[in-house]
Amino acid sequence: MNDDTLIADAPIPGAEFYENTNQRTPCVLVLDGSGSMQDNGKIDQLNRGLQVFETALKEDKSARTRVQVLVIRLGDNDDVEVLSDWGDAINFFAPTVQANGRTPLGKAVDLALRKIEEQKGVYKSNSIPYTRPWLFLMSDGEPTDRDWEAAADRCRQAEQEKKVVVWPIGVEGADVAKLGRFNQPGAPVHTLSAANFRDLFVWLSGSLAKVTQSQPGQAVQIAAPPTMTIPT
């Protein structure tokens, strides 16, 4: 090998590599903060899982600047609240979810869909490219708000129109059929026990990191974590 070979196979001197993409992947977590989440320490496990999610997202070089997170809690007297508004993962601090009251899942999903469309508007007006938003529904109980079925239809419709990817997760004891109403007919509803929250959030952060690295035309292969089960 002569000197010319060595020079030719080295990168061109002076070339700099600054990342110029500002792409975002929006992710909404709708978390059940109803009274029944007190049972079997589920709420404590959920909060620990959220902290793991925060750490894992921040540790991923791509995800920490590209994933944006919003957290909605449902509970109390059929109330919903934004616990953590849109922000880059690098600035995300896991909120503490309190367990108390009822399960207004329909109302929470309506709020999530509204927040997603608002955020898309922000991206569009600022020419920020984005991937399809993820909507994560996590509940252990039956919806208690009167119009939840209409909200479930709107959610199903949004998924069908490719406005969002919906992930319903049933926490032990959940009515899987009712949660399934929020997604396409026949689409799986994942279930997990309180002990698996940590695994779920590790999986979620890893999957989001994968999406941030996805390229046009490339289907992202996302598999359920081994500790989750898909009812047949």
Binding site: D4, I7, A8, D9, A10, P11, I12, P13, G14, A15, E16, F17, Y18, E19, N20, T21, N22, Q23, K61, S127, P129, Y130, T131, R132, V211, Q213, S214, Q215, P216, G217, Q218, A219, V220
Partner: protein
């Protein structure tokens, strides 16, 4: 030329000096997929025809689609150059559409409509002569033409920008039924340099939204390639695209074709 994961090629005539390279990205290395970016170029008389194509990772034969498209389009354009004359740019739209149609025809199988879809690929190409040229593009990637303007290289470029769907990881391919709606042309006057790239490169070689080249990358690369012997330059370009800093920005495959008119095109 091919060395493992790197493809490169360089050539020079009195009219054009051209250097191209394609390298496999870490995301394809991880899953054992080959490089699905491809490039081709040819110089015929005063004219240059070149194409950079990016095969879709989700398509079974995206890489093959990219190779067939790049070589097919350049072959077709070269034939048009040799048959044509001064009016070549007046009918560039028809020539390019004819080239794409021809490649689609080679792949298509009337008995199996899935065959075409299996070859999904994007296209960024150029037909350029001494007095100007035209970029053509379907989907993502980018191109830039640097007018003949003395020392201020790459500062007042004509740019061909990517077209994506609503979502950043969705784009358009020559294999889609509505490909003509997504075939965009960008004309430019006489240029000193031009560059074509796949989306794996545009993340650092172009500014945000691909509005203009990022000179922190392109200016030193262009200066180096101007001074290098073409084949040596091509190898250095491949090494640059295969640099860990490039792969840190994008894990995708990367392809780039750079060309210059010696002495700024004599202007």
């Amino acid at each position: 030329m091919s060395e493992g994961d790197r493809l490169h090629k360089g050539a020079a005539t009195s009219a054009w000096k051209v250097v191209g390279a394609a390298v496999r990205g870490p995301s394809h290395v991880r899953v054992g997929q080959p490089c699905q970016d491809a490039f081709e170029f040819a110089v015929a008389g005063d004219w240059l025809a070149a194409a950079v194509c990016d095969g879709a990772g989700s398509a079974k034969r995206g890489g093959e689609g990219a190779s067939l498209l790049a070589s097919g389009v350049v072959l077709h354009l070269t034939a048009a150059i040799e048959a044509g004359g001064d009016g070549l740019l007046d009918c560039v739209e028809a020539i390019v559409a004819g080239a794409i149609e021809e490649v689609r025809g080679q792949i298509e199988d009337v008995a199996d409509p899935d065959v075409l879809r299996a070859h999904h690929a994007t296209l960024v190409g150029v037909l350029a002569g001494p007095n100007g040229g035209c970029f053509f593009q379907i989907g993502d990637g980018a191109a830039a033409a640097d007018p003949c303007c003395g020392e201020s290289h790459w500062e007042d470029c004509v740019v061909s920008r990517p077209e994506n769907g609503e979502y950043a990881n969705e784009t358009f391919f020559f294999t889609l039924s509505d490909w003509r709606q997504h075939l965009h042309f960008t004309r430019f006057p006489a240029v000193a340099h031009l560059v074509l790239m796949s989306d794996g490169v545009s993340g650092f070689a172009m500014q945000t939204d691909c509005v203009a080249p990022d000179l922190r990358f392109l200016a030193p690369v262009s200066r180096y390639l101007e001074g290098a012997e073409p084949e040596m330059g091509a190898r250095a370009l491949a090494a640059t695209l295969d640099d860990t800093r490039a792969h840190a920005v994008s894990s995708d495959d990367k392809a780039l074709v750079w060309a210059c008119r010696p002495n700024g095109g004599g202007i």
